[in-house]
């Protein structure tokens, strides 16, 4: 231990970082359901506007990225689960690549590694909050009194108000991290990140279809749900053709095109998630016991798409805030190569990317540059599919669920493949698992990217696909608990759930 590792630098912080206790005894099924529902409800309750921020007047450049991370503009879920997810991906891939020295066989190292991820999540929330506040992101855009670039020229917001926003966002991010930890520690079902993404994706889809809330636009009042808006149009408009046309093409809120594309992507993903290859396995202890071990096509579930979009989200936050903060510096020429944002002229609710490197890997609608707007869909598809597939290739090895890990798990349970010798199990599994995880990542990301850039879904398709995949992962957790641990015997749910 002569060298100093990054992990050792974390040690002093370990005693001050809040840590949810592991349950003393196994939490019973019903209690887990209660904890999961309560945590998800509290998570959704955090969607309150931050003090001093008018969340209906925020101009939000990240709207197409945020829905899949359970985040909402101008609220305490400004970042959603993004900081936790990003730090988890970042450190777990670094450790998996052995760029970060962690000895996972030692418990103390594992704990340090966990604390490192938690501290990173806290710090990311803090840093993003500072960046957003100082790029005037939280300044409501009111075109009568303020300039497009924010309120710098007219009213200078007080430092106290700014720091209050930073404190509130940092605390709420810490709460989200602890809520994630609560479910991860076994008090509830599923990994916390995926549970909150599912809850939030469900509300996003429901709101964009049947949302009853109204907001005021230049054309009068509009509903947030696409179907509700269609009904409103049919009642108020004189021409039915125009009413239907408008419901399919409106720019503020969700329109019917986006909703239908998202539903199509939903079913495509659902279909793919049911594709699996079944390997016959048998017990080495009990004669004649043979069953199948399914390897799903979407072996990595929602994670490849989530990983790609977390990179995009990170780049967009950093790029956007840098271009805003450095707007008056002399290096702005170089900084705007990262990306260039312009205010959406029609809705005034979002900044559209229309130039720079980030434009090429975004689902932005159009650009003033014709060449760029022609090649943009291809570069976006290419980027999303490549990064996701690469992730699908490496992730099984970083999560101990590649062929070797599965073979070890099967051996521990005294299970072997039918017609294979013990030594050949890992090799045989590898022939199925690695192509499955790679092509699964490719297909799922291609669906999302295609729906996003061709359907102009503004994140609805992304959140729907990620939501259904995350939900299925959690269902797996619930069903395996229900069937394997005898939870059915003493649960209230045994009255209406199949016990066997």
């Amino acid at each position: 231990m002569s060298e100093i590792r990054l992990l050792d630098l974390i040690k002093p912080f370990q005693s001050v970082v809040p840590e949810v206790q592991l349950p003393y005894e196994k939490i019973i099924f019903d209690e887990k359901i209660v904890y999961t529902v309560a945590a998800a409800a509290i998570y959704l309750l955090l969607g309150l506007p931050v003090n001093g921020v008018d969340d209906s007047k925020i101009v939000d450049p990240f709207s197409w990225l945020r829905s899949g991370f359970g985040s909402r503009a101008g609220t305490f879920l400004e970042f959603g689960v993004f900081p936790a997810a990003f730090s988890a991906f970042f450190w777990q891939i670094l450790a998996g690549k052995k760029l970060l020295k962690v000895d996972f066989s030692s418990p103390s190292d594992r704990r340090l590694f966990q604390t490192l991820q938690k501290i990173t999540s806290f710090i990311l929330g803090f840093v993003f909050a500072i960046l957003l506040v100082f790029s005037d992101y939280f300044e409501p855009l009111d075109l009568f009194s303020k300039t497009e670039e924010g309120s710098l020229a007219l009213t200078s917001p007080s430092v106290v108000a700014k720091s209050l926003i930073i404190v509130e966002l940092t605390v709420s991010n810490a709460i989200v991290t602890l809520l994630i930890e609560l479910l991860d520690k076994g008090y509830g079902f599923g990994p916390g990140i995926l549970a909150y993404i599912t809850a939030s994706a469900a509300t996003t889809l429901a709101t964009s279809m049947f949302g009853l809330t109204t907001f005021v636009t230049s054309r009068g009042k509009e509903s947030s749900g696409a179907f509700i808006q269609l009904g409103r149009n049919l009642f108020s408009s004189k021409s039915w053709t125009y009413a239907v046309y408008e419901a399919f093409t409106r720019n503020i809120g969700a329109n019917l095109t986006q909703v239908y594309v998202a539903i199509a992507a939903f079913f495509a993903t659902l279909y793919l998630s049911n594709c699996r290859y079944e390997i016959s396995v048998k017990s080495t202890k009990v004669r004649g016991m043979s069953t199948v071990y399914p390897v799903k096509l979407l072996y990595c579930g929602a994670l490849p798409v989530l990983f790609t979009f977390s990179i995009l989200y990170f780049l967009n936050i950093v790029g956007f805030t840098l271009t805003k903060i450095c707007a008056n510096s002399k290096y702005i020429k170089y900084i705007s190569l990262i990306g260039h944002w312009t205010l959406d002229a029609e809705t005034k609710k979002t900044y559209n990317l229309d130039g720079g490197i980030l434009y090429l890997i975004s689902a932005a609608p159009s650009s003033s540059n014709l060449v760029l707007s022609i090649i943009r869909p291809f570069t976006f598809l290419f980027f999303v599919v490549m990064v996701s597939t690469y992730f699908g290739k490496i992730w099984p090895f970083m999560s101990g669920s590649a062929a070797r890990g599965v073979a070890k798990m099967l051996k521990e349970q005294d299970i072997t493949l039918v017609g294979r010798r013990d030594v050949a199990v890992a090799k045989e599994l590898g022939k199925i698992i690695s192509p499955a995880s790679r092509s699964g990542a490719l297909f799922s990301s291609a669906i999302v990217a295609f729906a996003e850039c061709c359907g102009r879904c503004k994140g609805i398709a992304f959140s729907t696909c990620v939501g259904i995949l995350a939900g299925l992962s959690i269902m797996e957790d619930i069903v395996s608990e229900w069937q394997q641990t005898g939870a059915a015997a003493n649960s209230q749910f045994s009255q209406f759930l199949p016990t066997q």
């Binding site: 997810a85 994630i180 991860d184 979407l298 090895f397 999560s399 101990g400």
Partner: protein, 89 residues
Amino acid sequence: MSSSIPGGAKTLSKRRANKENKLRQQKLNKPNSSRAAGAGGSSSSMLKIYTDEADGFKIDPLVVLIFAVAFIFSVVVLHVISKLTGKIF
């Protein structure tokens, strides 16, 4: 009288090569994630972070929930105050 070392390869260079190979193998076989090491952690389709109990400032799960609700409540109160007084600070 030359006495060879009992067991293993005969020549020194081969012994060293064997040892190096063994070390390399060990390094290769080292787990690179907590699930690979036999503890809980991320699996193929689940991104888990916090599965071990670190020696931190321990809190009960209910405290987390109550703290979150208290935070939400205090924010609501702040909103009400700012509505009443017109603005904050």
